[in-house]
């Protein structure tokens, strides 16, 4: 089955449709591109069902005062200025404040890609050429040659993001960045105030351990074991087997489990 096979792949699949199209603009140069989602949160998501009849449940907005279900058109946005005190915004007011989606990826300058701390990286999107291959190829090749990344901005839906445009595996990739205000400075942590300098002897030993354990980073060495177990459970359920919840065996039950296994083997022979 196609669906199951796709779950076996190491890498996630590129979706069939681009979710955005526009152009990279560098000064007066335009490179028309399409954007594809490239990173995926693969955590399984489950629907909530009604226990009695297995039917899907939907969410409704319920007024906390009288428990009445409130339809979409009767809602407004409120900003909580202090506990239970709100400033109300009409939809039109918020729309007017939104950045205009310009269908442009504006590059302001080129920076050394490796100089940017990955702490800022948010989501990555694959860029594909839209109609004109030549312009795309030229920009990609020059990024590869210089090991530089274009820094700039994009407006996606209602939010403007700082972005980096860089080469990755024979493609141009756009990575959205977090704003400075979205990241806190960990050196402000109380626990880090007054850290002592380590002894030289200890430091030498620690450095030696680090050097001994040094190697190439390979993401494939890391497996999502929960994802793997859920995937197996789903495959099993699809075959119509019932799932028996298996709790971790407690210490006092280990001998018992061994006896159970032995008896089950004997009973099979009978």
């Amino acid at each position: 089955m196609e669906e199951e096979e796709s779950m076996e792949e190491t890498n996630a699949r590129i979706p069939k449709r681009p979710f955005w199209s526009g152009a990279v603009t560098i000064g007066l140069v335009n490179v028309p591109v399409k954007l594809y989602s490239m990173t995926f949160d693969k955590a399984f998501s489950f629907r909530f069902l009604h226990k009695q009849d297995g039917q899907p449940l939907k969410y409704q907005k319920v007024c906390v005062k009288d428990n009445a279900v409130v339809p979409w058109e009767d809602t407004v946005r409120g900003y909580e200025v202090s506990k239970n005190r709100f400033i109300v915004f009409q939809k039109e007011e918020l729309d007017a404040a939104r950045p205009q989606s310009s269908q442009k990826i504006r590059i302001d300058k080129f920076v050394d890609y490796l100089s940017i701390d990955p702490i800022y990286f948010e989501r990555s999107y694959a860029l594909a050429p839209d109609k004109s291959n030549e312009a795309y190829s030229l920009l990609l090749t020059s990024l590869q040659k210089t090991h530089k990344a274009g820094a700039g901005r994009i407006t996606l839906r209602t939010k403007e993001y700082p972005i980096l445009l860089h080469a990755y595996k024979g493609a141009m990739v756009l990575t959205t960045l977090r704003y400075a205000y979205e990241i806190s400075d960990p050196s402000n942590l109380e626990e880090l105030k007054g850290l002592k300098e380590p002894e030289k002897k200890e430091l030498d030993l620690a450095v030696k351990i680090i050097n001994d354990l040094s190697g190439e980073f390979d993401i494939n060495e890391y497996e999502d074991t929960y994802e793997e177990r859920i995937r197996k459970l789903i495959a099993k359920k699809l075959k119509g087997e019932t799932i028996v919840a298996e709790k971790p065996v407690k210490e006092e039950a280990k001998e018992l489990m061994a006896a159970l296994q032995e008896t089950l083997n004997q009973l099979k022979k009978q």
């Binding site: 709790k247 006092e252 039950a253 008896t263």
Partner: protein
């Protein structure tokens, strides 16, 4: 491995012998290959000791609240209870494990099966001493009984009761009514009593000291006997242990068969017992 969700495994059920529920379940798991064939389709009565043998236990004829749907039950009117009873029927390992997890330490079974509930397939002689008679006297009477049954061409099987006596069983065709089997067992008891002053065949109150009573009354509709390999609610966690007849001799110590001592036993002296469906053809006299 099992449908049963274990609870309170480290709870001590035999404080003197220091036996936990995990060990009780383990006992029944180990004995299961030898027990299940005999328990099959036989309604059970449980004696449960959820707080241990030193605290009050209770008889349970009707299926307990929360009996899982996969446990087989047998619905029958009980005269003693005066209502319909859903007996537990233990036909698989999961049920046995579930019963053990309920702290059903003693398992008792009927002498007939669900499909022919009025026609027993087992005769039982419950041989019990009245002090100062003890196990040596019981052994003597049991061997007399075996000889008598041999003479009637009936192969018999023996187990300790887990207390002071012995149980002697004769598997039979499921063709006789309980009043017939009861009378047959009673007759043999009377016969032995006529031959030996040691044997008592009748219920007397008070019991005659120094005699060994051959109780025939369990051969009745709805009555039960303790299952082979069942634990007993004794401080030492004794077991109702099937024996080979060669083990029934002077010096037999029924109290030596306990949860811990039988754990390693692998012999099955009752192997094929129920396939040996015998007819009660020869008359006792």
């Amino acid at each position: 491995m099992t449908k049963v969700e274990f609870t309170n495994l480290d709870k001590v059920l035999y404080p003197v012998a220091n036996v936990t529920k995990a060990q009780v379940i383990q006992h029944y798991v180990r004995m299961a290959p030898r027990m299940l064939g005999i328990l099959k389709n036989r309604p059970m009565v449980l004696t449960r000791f959820p707080d241990g043998v030193d605290k009050e236990g209770f008889y349970e004829k009707d299926m307990p609240l929360g009996t899982p749907s996969w446990v087989k039950t047998f619905r029958k009117h009980s005269e003693s209870a005066g209502r319909e009873i859903n007996y537990i029927v233990c036909n698989n390992l999961d049920t046995l494990v579930w019963l053990a997890n309920l702290a059903a330490l003693e398992l008792h079974m009927t002498l007939s099966k669900t499909d022919r509930f009025e026609k027993p397939d087992i005769l039982v002689f419950d041989v019990d001493p009245e002090p100062p008679a003890g196990i040596d006297e019981v052994v003597k009477v049991a061997l007399m009984l075996k000889e008598k049954l041999d003479g009637l061409d009936l192969k018999s099987y023996v187990k300790t009761s887990g207390k002071k006596g012995l149980h002697i069983l004769v598997p039979i065709v499921s063709e006789y009514a309980f009043n017939q089997t009861r009378e047959y067992v009673h007759q043999i008891g009377r016969h032995l009593a006529s031959e030996s002053g040691l044997v008592a065949s009748e219920v007397s109150n008070p019991k005659k000291p120094g005699t060994v009573y051959i109780d025939y009354r369990q051969n009745s509709h709805g009555r039960t006997m303790v299952c082979p390999y069942s634990l007993r609610a004794t401080p030492q966690a004794t077991v109702s242990m099937p024996l080979d007849w060669t083990e029934v001799k002077k010096g037999l110590k029924p109290e030596a068969y306990t949860l811990s001592t039988v754990a390693k036993s692998e012999s099955n002296p009752w192997k094929g017992m129920l396939e040996n469906k015998q007819k009660l053809e020869k008359s006792v006299d």
